[in-house]
């Protein structure tokens, strides 16, 4: 039987949706017993959220002031200690999970499967390689503990349940290293939806030509209740902050609607949006590769099209 430990990701006392996606992924392993570990300075509210995810049989909390700002170096030794006896240890393929899980895998001397997008069995998984241009099926040697990160865009969040799993607190004995210290995090706080869970995403590329011009996308996004993304070119040029980058090395997203304005569609960008249900591309260049994957393509000047679309939506609401 598979016994799976999932590390919870959370911010500001709230469970991140990535955790329920990991649970959904884990629940596809037949007969899996799924536990969630919460590392926090005060894990109570996150733990009670995690206990209500369908499929979770137990939540383990580790309360420590050092977990106020989660750091891989601090969590890894404790998570590795908790992970003894589990066949699988999962985390989300977010920057939190990508940073943490390999450190845990090395401490456990376990192999890691990164970005799993499909479960074939308890030992066999599919994952993208070469920026999603090939899909590899990997198999872990039977009896080997496996660490994995879950490609969250490939899984819907597991539903929440009316009954709650048991919550237990644990006190790992691993000493916490002092060699790594949290200094700050500067998040561009916005009232817009989080890109990784948003149903709609409006995104801009180099053609926006300035940070100021991105305002027309923010306006359209706010009208639609959408998150705002950007191509690598736009982020490199300083038109948008790094946390808006969509693609192979940025965020991998799966919204119901993705509107790409002035994005040519480099393969590294397309890999970040291929799970979007509907893709709309607006570009001046009729040969832009983004049109190959778009459900609706429109050749034209985004500086005319964005305000027109905004007006049409405004007048119909």
């Amino acid at each position: 039987m598979s016994k799976i430990l999932i590390v919870a990701e959370h911010q500001g006392g709230k469970l991140n949706a990535a955790t329920a996606k990991c649970v959904h992924c884990a629940s596809q392993i037949a007969g899996a017993d799924i536990h969630v570990a919460v590392f926090a300075s005060d894990p109570a509210s996150v733990a009670s959220d995690a206990a209500r995810i369908t499929g979770v049989s137990k939540v383990i909390t580790v309360a420590h002031a050092a977990h106020a700002n989660p750091m891989a170096a601090t969590i890894a030794p404790q998570l590795a200690e908790l992970a003894q006896g589990y066949s699988h240890v999962f985390g989300p393929s977010t920057t939190f999970g990508k940073d943490l899980m390999p450190r845990v895998a090395a401490l456990l001397d376990a192999p890691q499967a990164s970005d799993i997008m499909a479960v074939e069995s308890a030992t066999r998984f599919r994952r993208p390689i070469y920026a999603g241009n090939a899909i590899i099926t990997v198999e872990v040697v039977a009896g080997t503990q496996l660490v994995a990160t879950v490609r969250t865009a490939s899984f819907d969040a597991a539903q929440s349940s009316t009954s709650a799993a048991a919550i237990e607190s644990a006190h790992p004995s691993a000493t916490l290293p002092q060699h790594t210290r949290f200094v700050s995090v500067s998040a561009a706080r916005s009232d817009r939806p989080d890109m990784q869970t948003a149903k709609k995403v409006v995104s801009g590329g180099r053609a926006l030509a300035s940070a100021d011009n991105f305002k027309i996308l923010y306006q359209l996004a706010d009208r639609m209740g959408a998150a705002v993304g950007a191509s690598r070119a736009a982020v490199d040029a300083g038109y948008a902050p790094n946390d808006m980058q969509v693609g192979q090395t940025g965020k991998i997203i799966a919204p119901e609607l993705y509107l790409a304005f002035g994005i040519s569609g480099a393969i590294q960008h397309l890999t970040g949006i291929k799970d979007a249900r509907t893709i709309v591309a607006v570009n001046k260049d009729p040969e832009a590769p983004i049109f190959e994957v778009a459900d609706y393509g429109l050749v034209g000047d985004l500086f005319q099209i964005v305000p027109e679309l905004d007006k049409l939506i405004a007048s119909s609401n």
Partner: protein, 249 residues
Amino acid sequence: MNRILVSIKRVVDYNVRIRVKPDGTGVITDGVKMSVNPFDEIALEEALRIKEKGLAEEIVAVSIGPADCQQQLRTALAMGADRAVHVQTDAVVEPGSAAKLMLKIVEREQPMLAILGKQAIDDDCNQTGQMLAALWGRPQATFASKVEISGDTAQVTREVDAGLEVLEVDLPAVITTDLRLNEPRYVKLPDIMKAKKKPLETIDPSALGVSTVERLKAVKFDPPSQRSKGVMVKDVGELFTALRGKGLV
């Protein structure tokens, strides 16, 4: 001596259109242009800049893989690395094994920093740096977009989902690079000539006492499922009507 170790992985060039072999045993690499993993180029560039500020004295480029990796190590030497270490093997080396091999080199070289690309653009694993840091028992600062060394510590700005995070780490430490850390320099012809004279050492993994047996094996390779091509609309009105029809706007 203040030394920096840099990883140099040989990968299919990022401009190559990847094709899966018809029999599903891999991707086509015959006759395909190979390059230094772009994130490793950024790692080397950062090491060079640290050295140019007088904060390090020697840069050692390390590659693990078949004989041809020496081409990429020569590129690294031409960019400015002082010497190269090639752990030569034809085996598929998974990140866990790569980290164990790197650790052996780290133990021998005693660097102040090991800078690695955050991921290789072939397997996209994003594991080796973190694993090396764990095995070494040292800090990790992954996905770095800014590195400032002062004395025995480094302050590293990291690109995370929420924005930018700053960590302070004691040295020695492992740093993995993100795209915006720097823009790697171009190699000049005279440097290519000079690089031929720089030391390049070859080591067998067994001499380091590390097994490279795979624990996560490739079963098969498939091309990704393609999205079906959509339709072109002629104006905003038509686009709006289509999206409204699907309840999306």
